[in-house]
Symmetry: C2
Subunit: 222 residues, 2 copies
Amino acid sequence: MPTVSTEDYLKQIRKLQEGAARVSTSALAASLGIADASVTAMLKKLAGQGLVSYQPYQGVTLTEKGEAFALRTLRRHRLWELFLVRHLGFSWDRIHEEAERLEHATSEALEAALDRALGFPRLDPHGDPIPSHDGRIEECTGAALTALPTGALARVRRVADGDPELLRHAGRLGVVPEASLEVRERFGFDGSLRVRVGGRDRFLSAEVARHVFVDLLEARDG
Amino acid sequence: MPTVSTEDYLKQIRKLQEGAARVSTSALAASLGIADASVTAMLKKLAGQGLVSYQPYQGVTLTEKGEAFALRTLRRHRLWELFLVRHLGFSWDRIHEEAERLEHATSEALEAALDRALGFPRLDPHGDPIPSHDGRIEECTGAALTALPTGALARVRRVADGDPELLRHAGRLGVVPEASLEVRERFGFDGSLRVRVGGRDRFLSAEVARHVFVDLLEARDG
DNA sequence: GCATCGTTTTAGCCTTGGCTAAAAATATCT
DNA sequence: AGATATTTTTAGCCAAGGCTAAAACGATGC
């Protein structure tokens, strides 16, 4: 069985691997908040267990086995996030750190029980896809809100997980998955937006908009 | 914050302390499945943190601080056990090992959310009392089923947590907390019983009966 | 009161997963 | 290409929690 550290490394490597083919030691170290040298040592161990393929000075990639473990952890994480919101009354900005601990304390049986209790969900509260039990995961579709033209109608699909402050803020504005919105005005100088959402006009900074992904419903030029 | 090991040690010391004033190194080691020498080393550490009072060769006792941590862990354990049964469809013989992991991954906020979702319960699925948030715990009352005279009517209060096989067996027979039963016949040679429970006559070995505690409703001699 | 026996501690070692500082490899700039 | 800058690895260290084998302690029997 993988240790907590192992699960964290694999999950993080997978995350960084999206986009880049190989993950550098320093990028991984920075994102885990661990010294570069410690990461080098750990990568050798993971390589020895066949979880990553590691070439000194060339970064790492997950092996199939490593990817399976990474997805298993991610699945447990996202099931817990949804469970905390639906069944335990947590707000979506506080679930990440809870899930971060619970994911490592979850047996196969518990994972299955969560899945069942939630009705075999496909998305977590941030709109991120929950990997299936057999390690399949949907692509994150959706356009960045920043890319929408004025007048566009769209449905929020995903608010990128990350800063709790940002999530709390977006939540208060009604910018949550499934919400419909319309781009009312774009401010070129700083990339911020005015949008119509939940019957109200709201201002979104570029910082916020960058984390919001939407499905375009109608692109009506204004 | 205490580590997983620390929580396990404190919980176990508290358990062994019921009855005996001081807990010996070897008793603790045996019940934790850890070598005596390792336990000695750990006790010194715990003493250094003010969690136990430890006199070489004289065993340990929990300090008030240590007791508080032990009860906190026990509270989380029992809240999880009940939650797993009530909200996740687990049967009571499989919850111990799950709770054993989850208790260490539970924040203050999660503990409170579980408590609320369960309606501030006082007993876990085995009938054991759940410590309150401020560290109070009810005495385990109830007479051993083995001590009941023939003809006695009683209500099951508690089935001692332990062997999953025993729990599964008791559960199948309907010997669960809140169940009413009547002692029909006692077999002196091996201490086993015939009882009426759930409209049926059941045979309970002494081994099972020893783990069942009841409130006496009526002692009618037969 | 001394020898013996069981319990407990000490001594020395291991693995995991961290750290810093220094050395080596790769990348970049002119 | 050569010097310099950046990245990565190596070397050596630490704390937590385990282990075994040997020594010390405390209790018991005679």
